[in-house]
Symmetry: C2
Subunit: 421 residues, 2 copies
């Protein structure tokens, strides 16, 4: 008997029929003797519907009191789907109970719309589990020290599930989703992409941060911090497939590099179309120039990803970095209107037609020449590299967006990731 | 400056446009210097949508664990509309905050789907009011001693509003609804029906219990118990009408019979099509016969309204009572299969084509002959009376449903309630 946490996304909870299938699947696990905790997302479309009503009423306001109300509003979606799942489980003959975040409680800080979980009380849930109940806990939400409802931000249900699994010391946290696991790259771009049976936590973290949409990055961070074994698997398999088969399906995110792990140097190719590049040209190359440019950007709450500073020439240098597309205009204006004049830079230019491609693999730690294989492959395909960023287990390049598919496909082949026919 | 509670029904909250109008109206009151608490219902259709999802998943189960989940589900409707109203008020430049029932908290017992309010903590709300905030409190819901979400049942938002007004010792509780006040009878049946400027609490209580749909009966009970001045008025007047005019519109439910009150002996004619009659015929007339029949009915949780026992003849008697249409079949079967055989009754007959018509007025206390005027009027119209029930301030008769409109119209005229042209 194990304590298992299941997380179901909005698509899996998208209709009464699908909720019934989730209930049947959970009941199967419970009947096999497992203690079950389930974390459902809101029914697909529901969070957008609610936030759409809010935006019909008022333009977004950068005020805490406004974000507080958005959280009150958005949190109702998960509460409703949790209650519906409890009803479906009861109808399957299971004893089931649902809890909103504040009832557990899932304690968070007060950063409305993007709160961070601080602690989870396991007393109430454990009591129910010991009494033989299936416990459903709303994902995506919690309660702050003042008793206000908070949400974790989009995709936060993954994080809720992992945090709950950590608090309960669950044996495994299963993330049921609309893909059947983690792939070497996006199969829509490279049909030869393979599903990974296992992937290390560090690789998953890089992939999530580099643009793979399978898991929300904070959930992976949580899993790493608390060593929660986490599995990504499909919610579209029939609910009545053999439990042992289901329990081994998908991709397991592991914390130990054991013998069975796949030995590829590079485990996957991640990419991200969602960034834009900004360059500040002709900046006098004095100490503190990076802080002079990036300080105001950070103060404006704009996240910066890849950063490069060119070598100095005639006492001047160029400074480039990438930001999310959503922050691009704001960052550009800030730099043009305030930062560049203050620093005496000659020009600020931007480019939204870029893409970031990354190779990821813990094997890179012990293998030399991985990055150069990447650069050579891209060069052979005529793809110009605009920026490079490296870490211990990944190398990222920024390229012209039009070469994205070509780059990903050729790297996938070059690192031996293509499915063997 | 006064402390005012506004309550808005589902129709008034039915769309972003309508929510914006509610916000403008509330803002007008707040800007006039009043401390404002607002209790909104769920957007119209929302509670039905949610409960519809539940019934798609599972047939209704008479289990506390099931009702608990229904409350978790249904309570989300009011939470969402409260947050939306807060956002709309903020967009009008007001400082506004919404609270779910558990946040206030509004404490109830644990009777899921029909909980009763036990107490309301006013500390948090009063702090916000003193800080100049408009406070929005979800109607219809509360929290039980174990921290579970409860709902008060359909129409419970009226009760929430009055209970909150009582807890805060509000100067007045304004119930904004889709009618512009309490009428002498339903204007759809009697076009000559007049709006009452004031009505006594006791009359309102009788009217509500006799079928008038304007106010939920428990809200009137609450208003009576805590002496909360309560006003029913239209939410469809333009939001920017003069505040003094708005404050005097609708119908005020009063607790004092002051000089200004209308002096009619009968204040209104209430009616109810929602009951059915059951008669147990030829019961041996022994002591305890009423308990023998009504005991099992009460045990089956079926509410009984008008009851009459015929005079005994040859040691046998007939016993009749009315129940809600929804309980009719169940009551009939219970009596036929269990009760009648046990008591040796000869027959059980039922009739769904009945209606109850009542005259209500505190003037009846001090005027004789009111009931006989009623009976004479009906007799002149050829309406046969099947059952009679009286109290200090009302007389009800059960008649054939087909005479309902005729009876109501003729009584309305007979008691001088018609609008003077």
């Amino acid at each position: 008997m194990a304590l298992i946490v299941h997380k179901y996304g909005g698509t899996s909870m998208g209709s009464p029929e699908r909720i019934r299938n989730v209930a049947k699947r959970v009941a199967k696990w419970a009947r096999a003797g497992h203690q079950m905790v389930v974390v459902p997302s809101a029914m697909s479309g529901e969070t957008n519907r609610l936030l759409g009503l809010a935006s019909e009423l008022a333009p977004s306001q950068a005020k805490s009191s406004y974000y507080r109300e958005l959280d009150m509003l958005a949190s109702t979606g998960e509460q409703a789907s949790s209650a519906l799942l409890a009803i479906a489980l009861q109808s399957e003959g299971m004893d089931a109970i649902s809890y909103a975040g504040w009832q557990v409680p899932v304690r968070t800080d007060s950063s409305y719309t993007k709160a961070r979980i601080e602690s989870i009380d396991d007393v109430r849930v454990r009591g129910d589990l010991d009494a033989g109940r299936v416990v459903i806990i709303t994902g995506f939400q919690g309660i702050d020290p003042q008793g206000n409802v908070t949400t974790l931000g989009r995709g936060g249900s993954d994080t809720s599930a992992v945090a709950i699994a950590a608090a309960l010391k669950a044996n495994e946290c299963l993330i049921y989703t609309d893909v059947d696991g983690v792939y070497t790259t996006d199969p829509r771009v490279v049909p030869a992409a393979k599903r990974l049976g296992t992937v290390s936590f560090e690789e998953m973290l890089e992939m999530a941060s580099l643009g793979s949409k399978v898991l929300q990055i904070r959930s992976v961070e949580f899993a790493g911090k608390y060593k929660v074994p986490m599995r990504v698997l499909s919610s579209f398999t029939p609910w009545d497939i053999d439990l042992d088969e289901e329990a081994k399906s998908g991709t397991l995110i592991t914390f130990e590099e054991d013998e069975k792990m796949e030995k590829a140097v590079v485990s996957g190719i991640a990419f991200n179309r969602g960034e834009a590049k900004i360059s500040v040209l002709g900046v006098p190359d004095t100490p503190g120039i990076a802080a002079g440019i990036l300080g105001p950007v950070a103060d404006a709450n704009i996240e910066v990803d890849v950063i490069i500073q060119n070598i100095s020439k005639d006492g001047k240098t160029d400074f480039s970095f990438t930001v999310n597309q959503g922050d691009y205009q704001r960052a550009l204006e800030l730099l043009r209107d305030k930062v560049a004049p203050a620093l005496g830079a000659s020009e600020v230019v931007g480019n939204q037609n870029i893409a970031k491609v990354s190779i990821v693999g813990i094997g890179m730690r012990s293998h030399v020449g991985v990055a150069s294989t990447m650069f050579r492959t891209l060069s052979q395909e005529g793809v110009n590299i605009q920026m490079i960023s490296t870490s211990e287990i990944k190398t990222s390049v920024v390229i012209d967006e039009k070469y994205l598919e070509l780059a990903v496909r050729s790297l996938h082949t070059a690192f031996g990731l293509d499915k063997s026919e």
